[in-house]
């Protein structure tokens, strides 16, 4: 009678100790394999990449003559990934700061100011979460062409701002509205204006929410291709890193030494963010997953 449950629990424990970890290791291996191949290849000579699989390096990994940085030098300097990287920085930082600033002011007003139509306007903002940005591209492109805004940094910052605002306002509002009411009221009694209350009290207190959203928006803009293609275009000197990499795939699709190195240049910033700010990163991804 008592032997059977004991045995099943033994089997179960063995299963948990051996099979589950093995399965996890196998899955992690499978998931990393594609990226590892590209990372290893980016440091190999172009002829070596073309004539043998990247896994063959494991036969003699310490033969240092096979490793090279030439691919990176070539793709950054000759193939424009360097200047595209710079463009991405110039596009991404303001396209993160501007929407967060504007959204924070608006979220504060929706949470703590009294004005007519507040509920209705906020409902509209939440409703706009549903609209995919694809719905806005055609009319905006036409207006941009008329105003000569295509290809300008200002144009793409504002586009990313507009598309990011509903989510930014919604998330920051949810955070700001639950700040303790007494705190703000005592500030107002001491004669603080809304502006001071906002900059001195609400902003510092909202840092966790702002950090999570910033990371989400930053990565979203850095990794975006569609908005950049429509408003900046490709094949010119203002193209960002994703569109430059796409061009390389089109024009040099078989030059794997360039593509692999180029892919890593484009991934370096997201990977650094991922490894250094993992906790905020996860929160940001979870919060931002509903973006339009």
């Amino acid at each position: 009678m008592s032997a059977a449950p004991y045995q099943t629990s033994l089997v179960r424990r063995k299963f948990e100790r051996v099979v589950v970890p093995l399965a996890v290791i196998f899955i992690c291996f499978l998931w990393t394999l594609p990226t590892a191949g590209v990372l290893i290849s980016s440091f190999r000579e172009s002829t070596a990449i073309r004539t043998s699989g990247w896994w063959t390096v494991f036969a003699h990994p310490f033969e240092f003559t096979q490793w090279t940085l030439q691919n990176y030098r070539e793709v950054i300097l000759a193939d424009g990934m360097g200047s595209a990287f710079l463009n991405s920085v110039i596009v991404t930082i303001p396209a993160t700061v501007i929407p967060i600033t504007i959204a924070a002011f608006a979220a504060y007003a929706f949470a703590w100011m009294d004005f007519r139509g507040r509920e209705l306007l906020f409902a509209i903002v939440v409703g706009l979460l549903i609209v995919p940005l694809h719905m806005a591209l055609i009319p905006l492109l036409r207006v941009y062409t008329r105003l000569d805004l295509t290809g300008s940094y200002l144009g793409i910052w504002l586009a990313h701002t507009g598309f990011g605002l509903p989510l930014a306002i919604y998330l920051l509002y949810n955070y700001i509205v639950q700040l303790p009411q007494d705190l703000l009221e005592s500030a107002f009694i001491d004669g603080a204006s809304h502006f001071t209350a906002f900059t001195r009290l609400v902003l510092p207190l909202s840092v966790p929410a702002i950090a999570s959203f910033s990371i989400f928006q930053f990565l979203w803009v850095w990794n975006d291709l569609l908005v950049a293609l429509v408003f900046l275009g490709s094949g010119n000197e203002s193209s960002v890193i994703t569109s430059r990499l796409t061009e390389l795939v089109g024009s040099k699709g078989q030059d794997w030494h360039l593509l692999t190195a180029g892919a890593f240049v484009s991934m370096v910033v997201p990977l650094v963010v991922f490894f250094s700010l993992q906790r905020y990163f996860v929160r940001g991804i979870l919060a931002g997953s509903v973006k339009g």
Binding site: R12, V20, P21, V24, I27, C28, W31, L33, P34, G37, I49, S52, G53, W54, S83, V89, P94, I98, F105, A106, M113, D114, F115, L121, I124, L128, I130, V131, P132, H134, M135, L137, I138, P139, L140, S152, Y153, L154, G162, F163, L165, S193, F195, N223, L225, L226, E237, L245, W256, T260, S266, M267, P270, F274, Q278, F281, V282, I285, S289, V290
Partner: protein
């Protein structure tokens, strides 16, 4: 008097920003200098404008006008941008979806009929449906499975970051990574793509994964599954941890097997999370663009909705068709988003 100073300051700022814009756009400005000026102007400009707007209002004579203007300074910019970048364009897209390619003549439902009748676009719909079912099904199932497995091993955080990593990189980067996995060389030449190397090692013929019409869509879908599984896993993993262990322990004490505990206790408790995850993945899949654009650019029957729309915009220059496709996308997204947002609210109110 002080009010005039504020106004003058505001005007000066606007002029300075306007000047920096012309400076950045000018052909002869060196790229690096232009970039740095743009960066500074963009980041500081938005703060300056808010500060000045507030300054002007603060120095108005106290009273009803001032009180009415204060919220305008705070929400005005957001509402203006939302109107200009979402409300007006979305309405305009719906409007021009009833007009011809140059938006001159009213054509009624012509563009929508085209979308539902044209054999090309049928393939687009078929592909989108395949993406929808396979990506959602596999990433939710795999995400849940991995979350459950990872919950029982020692280095959980490390294991999770391997699966989660693809979520950090761009679709373009991921596409390059997978193009390399799918790389194809004719028979006899060395296979540098992992997949074909395996096929050949097992005695098969190398496969053109991206060209072969019976497999290429699955090859693209696999990329999206690779990226989305991490998202599903993280959400499920957090939800699993929030299930009190007493409940599952009690079930085991009563003699339930591991599998029974999972399907009878754990899974029902994850229902809300499941809806949230699935709807989020569905919306992401409906909007997919980059993967197809980089891998095949929609050739060999791999086109999806967003890519067809892009092609209508820039290749065929048919704004009627393009906006009709955008409207179809919107209509497809709305019900999913409504479920998603409603579910989100329910979960929040329960907490």
């Amino acid at each position: 008097m002080r009010l005039l100073v504020s106004l003058a300051l505001g005007l000066a700022t606007l002029l300075a920003l306007r000047w920096s814009y012309t400076f950045v756009q000018a052909e002869e400005t060196p790229r690096l200098v232009a970039g740095l000026v743009a960066l500074g102007a963009g980041v500081l400009g938005v703060w300056l404008l808010f500060w000045l707007g507030n300054d002007v209002v603060a120095h108005l004579p106290a009273g009803r006008i001032q009180e009415a203007l204060q919220p305008v300074v705070f929400v005005g910019p957001a509402l203006l941008l939302l109107f200009a970048y979402l409300v007006y364009p979305a309405l305009n897209t719906i409007y021009i979806s009833f007009f011809d390619e140059r938006s001159r003549n009213f054509v009624g439902l012509e563009n929508f009929l085209f979308a539902f009748r044209s054999p090309d676009v049928q393939i687009v719909f078929r592909n989108n449906l395949m993406w929808l079912v396979l990506v959602t099904g596999f990433s939710v199932a795999l995400g849940l499975l991995i979350a459950v497995l990872v919950d029982r091993v020692r280095h959980e955080a490390a294991a999770k970051s391997f699966i989660f990593l693809p979520l950090a990189i761009s679709f373009v980067g991921a596409s390059v990574i997978w193009r390399f996995v799918y790389a194809f060389a004719p028979v006899g030449r060395p296979q540098i793509g992992v997949l074909n190397a395996i096929v050949v090692a097992l005695g098969g013929e190398p496969v053109g994964w991206l060209i072969e019409r019976s497999i290429n869509n699955f090859a693209l879908i696999a990329i999206m599954i690779w990226m989305q599984t991490g998202f599903c896993m993280i959400v499920f993993s957090a939800a699993l941890k929030s299930i009190p262990s007493e409940i599952t322990e009690a079930a085991r004490m009563d003699g339930a097997t591991e599998v029974q505990t999972f399907f009878r206790i754990t899974l029902p408790m994850l229902q809300g999370t499941m809806i949230a995850v699935a709807t989020t993945v569905i919306v992401a899949v409906l909007k997919v663009f980059d993967v197809v654009f980089v891998m095949t650019n929609g050739q060999f029957d791999t086109q999806v909705l967003a890519n067809r729309m892009y092609a209508e915009m820039f290749t065929f220059r048919n704004f009627g068709h393009a906006s009709a496709l955008a409207v179809i996308l919107l209509v497809a997204v709305i019900p999913v988003m409504v479920i998603n947002v409603r579910n989100l609210r329910e979960q929040r109110s329960r907490r």
